[in-house]
Symmetry: C2
Subunit: 227 residues, 2 copies
């Protein structure tokens, strides 16, 4: 499948690398391609510059937000939550129309230090904001509740015996995302929480995730829903 991945940080790299390994045709989107490839400082969580990372993965295309969105049959929002609406505006509403838009972002505000705050809570969520802004896109919220490495290699953690959540208003779009999660990434169980408004709970559990990371001393963990 042709997939546009918005963002070039650690989440976007991890998703794009795995999708490319799975033989999807991936185009990553950024604001300024030349500036991205010229960047010498390391972004958060990265151990090499984007240019060095990309040299080892020449199959992955790199373009503007709009170019990667045009490329994708599916589009993945892997930008920082604080930058997502701006990135999607640059992607272009017409380019998103009719497409599955997997939103993996969290609306976290780090401006007051750690732990981050959520910029949207209770009766709204980033997932809903995106769906409202682009009503012709078929938004599915997923993957925001785990670390990037767990997103694409769930079986590396406890043999995959844990759960990922998903929500969205379009059942067909959720089926596409569910297939990618299970048959692509290897998730054993995807819990469908319902319509896109369930993004509220999926995003509001991030503070607990941050606390658990501190208590456990690792970001490599996940929730399993025991019943």
């Amino acid at each position: 499948m042709r997939i546009g991945v918005l963002g070039t940080g650690i989440v976007a790299q991890t998703l794009s690398g795995k999708l490319s390994e799975l033989d999807h045709d991936v185009a990553m989107g950024t604001r300024d391609v030349a500036a991205l490839l010229a960047r010498t400082e390391l972004a958060f969580g990265q151990t090499e510059t984007f240019a060095v990372w990309h040299q080892q993965r020449p199959k992955i295309r790199v373009g503007t937000f709009a170019e990667s969105t045009v490329h994708g049959e599916m589009v993945i929002n892997a930008t920082a939550g604080s930058a997502s609406l701006e990135a999607l505006a640059a992607a272009g509403g017409a380019n998103l129309s009719g497409k599955v838009l997997l939103d993996a972002a969290n609306p976290l505000d780090f401006s007051q230090g750690l732990p981050p705050s959520l910029t949207v809570v209770n009766r709204d969520s980033l997932g809903e904001q995106i769906q409202r802004a682009y009503p012709q896109a078929r938004v599915v919220k997923a993957l925001n509740t785990v670390n990037a490495s767990v997103m694409v290699e769930p079986r590396a953690l406890a043999d995959g015996n844990h759960d990922i959540f998903m929500c969205g208003d379009d059942a067909d779009a959720k089926a596409v995302v569910g297939d990618l999660l299970t048959n692509g990434f290897g998730w054993r169980q995807v819990i469908d929480l319902g319509g896109i408004s369930a993004a509220r709970g999926m995003e509001m559990c991030l503070p607990l995730w941050v606390e658990l990371m501190g208590a456990l001393g690792t970001p490599t963990f996940n929730f399993k829903i025991v019943r």
Copy 2:
């Protein structure tokens, strides 16, 4: 141990009943004892009036918020989150001084219908509000992330193979609560999330809990942290 349980709803009843079975000396606290015992309508989640429930458990004392707090070596806040600060004011700061105060409440606002909103988010929590209001109390947040039945009978769900969270600023108070949870109620693992500010994440995961209850069709489930 002498334990004061603030509240008389389903959470307070479930905790008090179990604690009494475990041979603790329990006093439940309410605003108006006569009104409580005279009440004929059923409260949320209850299948019998408080008076009928209490007739079957004569060992459990019933008194005012202040009386049950004076009685308790440990005090448990099992009131609705929206009523907790008022109940604790009635309990009396001097009566709470030096005592372990297990806060099991969630600051949920049902005034706009379902799903409920949280009245405190991000850089504050009900647990912190209580600790600030009663600095001489030793507040431990716990049990707010599970249904009442799971609180006291964790082994009835998947043989107890799931986790309960706890936080608080006083290590000795957490040890007392941790002992009650494990040796009293049978929790296999209590995850200590650190100081009372971790109540933020514990409370903000409630919207996800509510969504899961809807998706799974049962309130009898819990999180297990897989690592």
